[in-house]
Point group: C2
Chain length 239, copies 2
């Protein structure tokens, strides 16, 4: 049940058996959500953090005019709100983009971990830091790349992140986002999002249908995206 979390964390450093057992013990109660439901509401003060066991979720904020900006996409093995453990108040919501299966982890247990297990604490801290790195990569893509390049970057990132948790199938992966939802990721209108996607298709870099993306030319897609996976910290070393 926490297999994806272990796959995630063990990309960065080795875990001891004890640490794996602690994670198994504190990640408990399961909950399921339908696509479109909020896993966590903006403004709430959850007493637990949610580990996404299966499905896709997104962090988002709404503007006064009701526009939505998605600030992160979460996949299996991600804590969607580990930061709430210390931030306390959610400054954004988390919505299920597909049916989601999550496991909850009480903040009191997380606090125990920080009191007794320094290395595991650092690994959880690292997990939040990597999501910070992802935020920075998104900011660069939003500010200084073409929209085509931005989309390419997001697809490269998802392909790598899904690969870590064994959710890819050759060059394909499941991505249950509508074009309208993807527009909320890139900060585009729905109409223009469609045109950007068509550019990647026309260039034969990807195919995308039935919620399935297939990368047709990884080399060129990476070039278009200027994708460098350094920011994902995918190296096993003492942390």
């Amino acid at each position: 049940m926490i297999d994806s979390l272990l796959l995630n964390l063990e990309q960065h450093d080795v875990l001891t058996d004890e640490e794996r057992n602690i994670l198994r013990r504190i990640v408990g109660r399961e909950r399921r959500f339908l696509a479109g439901e909020d896993l966590v509401a903006e403004g709430s003060r959850p007493g637990y953090s949610s580990l996404l066991v299966d499905g896709f979720a997104a962090r988002y904020k709404l503007t006064a005019e009701g526009m939505r900006q998605i600030t992160a996409i979460h996949v299996a093995g991600d804590f969607v709100d580990l930061h709430a453990f210390l931030l306390k108040t959610m400054d954004h919501g988390v919505v299920a983009l597909s049916p989601c299966h999550v496991s909850l982890c009480d903040h009191s247990d997380l606090k125990q971990v920080t009191e007794q297990h320094p290395h595991l604490t650092r690994m959880l801290w690292l997990d939040t830091l990597i999501h910070g790195s992802i935020h920075r990569a998104w900011i660069v893509a939003m500010g200084r790349r073409s929209k085509v390049s931005h989309l390419a970057h997001i697809l490269c990132e998802l392909y790598v992140r899904l690969g870590v948790v064994r959710r890819t199938n050759g060059w394909s992966f499941h991505l249950p986002l509508s074009q309208g939802e993807m527009a909320d990721v890139l900060g585009l209108s729905l109409v223009h999002m469609n045109r950007v996607i068509q550019t990647l298709r026309r260039e034969r870099l990807i195919s995308w249908s039935n919620q399935t993306i297939t990368i047709l030319d990884w080399e060129r897609l990476q070039e278009v995206a200027e994708f460098d996976p350094t920011y994902l910290s995918l190296s096993v070393e003492p942390r």
Copy 2:
């Protein structure tokens, strides 16, 4: 020397005398940089983290075509690269936007803190989480707000953050960024940055000259920005 850091951290929770002393002990060697120098180079693996004692610094990434995107602005009291403690490799550079005074903190000392001082560890973790929140606020501003609103949001944020570390003077604060550097924050061209600034001036929301910004109408500036400081976690509570 670490006064600004204490002002920063104590916005979120109380520190014990012992914790304050530990910080004083581990934040050591001082270094100075001229405006334009890199405090930390992209791709480097620093063995220490840098606390900005005075001045302004920015994290940035460069694109293949040599464009620059600034992903964070740092002010006195900020650790500019605390995340390198666990991420190990810098996926971006940090540049001095003004003459900077920094104090270094060895990663071995930080590791000691995580082994022996859980609460202080959580406070440092929190510091990195707040910078993640700021990243999300920037993503929303970049994706779903007008450029005028985006600039207003950044100025609101800087005013609040500088106020915490006592770097404001009434409604004014020093901001040593050229319009070209600000353009790299917003992801704009220099020419358009100028026009956006002039809009805020024309609306009598701010004045900006001689590297000094004065907020002329805080209420309306906040409205234009849709600024809600929740994301800065400025409340003292147990963490």
